[in-house]
């Protein structure tokens, strides 16, 4: 049942991404200032928005973990942060390519949006090493949740601070939508945002399914090997799920990933 839903979601994502690409290149006109280079924004900006939302979701899931002590929430938070880091790398690279084309430089340290995003990425780059440094799974999950909440709260604060800063060099896509994104630009931009968000959700569910299957297999292996051979799991940054928890998660549909 769960696999069928994932397949439907994956097909919807594929269709949405294809439509976005077709509209972006063959329907939306070239920007008066940026020209064809502006097409980069249809992936760069939605990627950035979805990345930041993913980090915030990681924090929300971490709050749920601390409240319920249910390790499935820790897994949700872990996968969200992990996936957002991958998307964040895409944001940094596509942003640099755009900067080179538009400004003539790959990076500008005086530009607050770029530097603040890099800071967020560096902050989250410490998440996996933090988890790996703690051997006890319960303590690891607790500390990681505290980190995810703190860092998740930093994301919107950082966003507001950058908006309030006066040295604007970076184009504002969502600052004043009606003024900055007329007609077809707006349609394609929002479609692109939906497509990238769907992509994030699909990959998140895909990874959740994989993690739950691995957890179930590990637990089954321990069961089949017998109680005497039961060992502590080897040190890993990945959250630990018991057989009951993993089974419950799968029954829910990949840890509630409906």
């Amino acid at each position: 049942m769960y696999g069928k839903r994932l397949r439907t979601l994956a097909l919807t994502t594929f269709a949405a991404l294809t439509l976005t690409l077709v509209l972006a290149f063959f329907w939306a006109p070239n920007d008066a200032d940026q020209g064809f280079l502006q097409k980069i924004f249809y992936i760069h900006v939605p990627l950035a928005i979805v990345t930041l939302c993913g980090f915030i979701y990681g924090g929300v899931a971490a709050i749920a973990h601390l409240r319920t002590h249910d390790s499935r929430w820790d897994m949700r938070s872990y996968v969200a942060i992990h996936l957002s880091l991958v998307f964040g790398v895409g944001v940094l690279i596509t942003g640099s390519i755009w900067a080179k084309g538009s400004w003539g430089v790959w990076w500008d340290w005086s530009e607050p949006t770029l530097v603040s995003f890099l800071l967020i990425m560096l902050l989250y780059a410490t998440y996996q090493p933090l988890r790996f440094a703690i051997e006890d799974p319960e303590r690891q999950a607790r500390y990681a949740s505290v980190f995810a909440i703190t860092a998740g709260a930093f994301v919107p604060i950082n966003f507001v601070i950058v908006r309030l800063s006066t040295a604007y060099l970076h184009p504002r896509v969502l600052g004043n939508v009606s003024a900055n994104l007329p007609g077809r630009f707006q349609v394609v931009f929002y479609l692109s945002l939906v497509s990238i968000a769907l992509l994030w959700i699909t990959l998140w569910r895909y990874e959740m399914t994989s993690k739950h299957a691995s957890a179930q297999l590990r637990a089954l292996r321990r069961l089949l090997a017998g109680e005497d051979e039961e060992q502590l799991p080897r040190r890993s940054a990945v959250p630990t799920l018991s057989l009951e928890t993993a089974s419950a998660g799968s029954a829910e549909g990949g840890g509630g990933a409906r």
């Binding site: 008066a32 200032d33 940026q34 020209g35 064809f36 390519i97 538009s102 990959l203």
Partner: protein, 60 residues
Amino acid sequence: MIPLHDAVPYVAAAYTVFFALILLYLAIMSGKLGRIERELGELTELAARRGAGAGDRDEP
């Protein structure tokens, strides 16, 4: 306005990076899926051996 012939390589590079990143992620996940499949095979074998062992003990 930035000329089209100047902008095309940058746009192509950005979209290539995006799709390459997604494909790389999927390739890594496929590797993990392969490992799960292998482990599942081992567990099935282990369960079958246990089943056969239990059957031998039940026989008079």
